[in-house]
Symmetry: C2
Subunit: 250 residues, 2 copies
């Protein structure tokens, strides 16, 4: 449910943005603006690059098939990346696309694939993940494009956690947890602690993986109610509860 | 992330279920079990009809293209419908399918389309909604198939609310709410109050609709953080927060 100010077309660009900056568009981008969106010279869009905030820019038409954009004024300052990492077992194709988009909408600042025993998709297309993340930023008014990490095996992730992550807490969505209340699981965590949320594959975690996770001092198991959730549903549900209780929804 | 006991094929049927009950399958169902799932005589599935609980049943093969199922023992008693209604502006096609499935996973006991000013899809295919709801029940181990209501206009819904809904509270996901914290919005509600959650269309509510909603004594506005959420994301996020704070996740 976009707010109305977001109805203006928003585009992610790689170039630096400042007053008067001219952003060259390639053939495909020009075609998209001129022929798909049917924009004309002087029509405005919003631009962001993940570094320089959001800028209003006007289309400059240079023939039927070529255009550029000229930035005029900043509409929003750059937002920092939310300090909330989303860790997940990669799903196949469309479901992964969807999960990545949802995690960005929900305010994940980093997307980190984790390979577990029952992970169905070993190969992860990081370029595709990035373009899904950028698309979600464009559609949902997000200015900070999340970092996208290389996949890592669960055991290696846990073994190196404290050395690389410091005090970051790993909230582990545990379908085997006896309680059903996710809020109670977060009760002992204080506002402002760096967080990560881990959602497993469609097949769940193995018993060995669950035991390993629960043995780590930086892991907090969190149940997600009495019903079975698909992994992409669990992503949104877990991030909603964590954001509402401890994150930037609070 | 299905738990392992849910890896058995689960099928929704219309017939009554009891020990020894034989469920006739039509051509399409027989073909699905025999040729798509490649099941053989004696192989077992789980059956539910939304009334009689979940039953283990064995396939009885009656030729290459015809089969029936014979129920043996109840595996779970019938669960009541959760007393949480999900009201939503219908979306188009695939996004509506997705939203219906997600609402079922999240424990909605009734799915109620509401037509608002910016609703993009006036016609609602209730049969398609029902088959999506059934599919979500099959996949996610839900035994109570949600009721699916006819679409109603927002103004009519609100005008008749107290007469037809009694004490039910309508939690209205309000993107224009100044605060960002959904949990704080629910602070004054007590556990056990009958609830409904309303999510608007992709275009949001009009200012008139927002004012009308906020003027009702049975409406509680709930923000969903600082970012714009797509309607199907808002569905899962809102239901997660409500379930965690007041519903059957608590």
């Amino acid at each position: 449910m976009p707010r109305y100010e977001f109805r203006m077309q928003r585009l992610h660009v790689e170039d630096g943005l400042s007053a008067g900056a001219e952003i060259a568009l390639d053939r495909a981008q020009s075609n998209y603006l001129l022929n798909v969106l049917r924009m004309k010279g002087g029509d405005e869009v919003l631009l962001f690059n993940g570094r320089d905030g959001e800028w209003r820019a006007a289309l400059r038409q240079e023939g039927r098939k070529q255009a550029s954009l000229v930035a005029s004024e900043m509409t929003r300052p750059q937002a920092p990346l939310p300090d909330l990492h989303y860790l997940f077992a990669p799903l196949k194709h469309a479901r992964l696309d969807y999960m990545v988009q949802k995690a960005v909408e929900m305010g994940a600042g980093a997307l980190r694939p984790v390979v577990t025993r029952y992970t169905q998709s070993g190969r992860v297309n990081l370029e595709r993940m990035r373009s899904n993340a950028v698309e979600a930023c464009e559609q949902c008014g997000v200015l900070a494009v999340p970092a996208i990490d290389e996949p890592v095996a669960l055991e290696a992730l846990l073994a190196g956690w404290q050395a690389s992550e410091g005090a970051r807490i790993l909230v582990f969505c545990d379908e085997g947890e006896a309680s059903q209340n996710p809020l109670a699981a977060l009760d002992d965590l204080s506002q402002g602690v760096p967080l990560a949320v881990l959602v497993g594959p469609e097949g769940g975690f193995s018993e060995e993986e669950r035991a390993l996770l629960r043995a780590q001092p930086f892991v907090v198991p969190m149940p997600l109610g009495p019903r079975v959730l698909r992994a992409d549903t669990a992503a949104v549900a877990a991030l909603a509860v964590v954001q509402a209780r401890l994150g930037d929804w609070h």
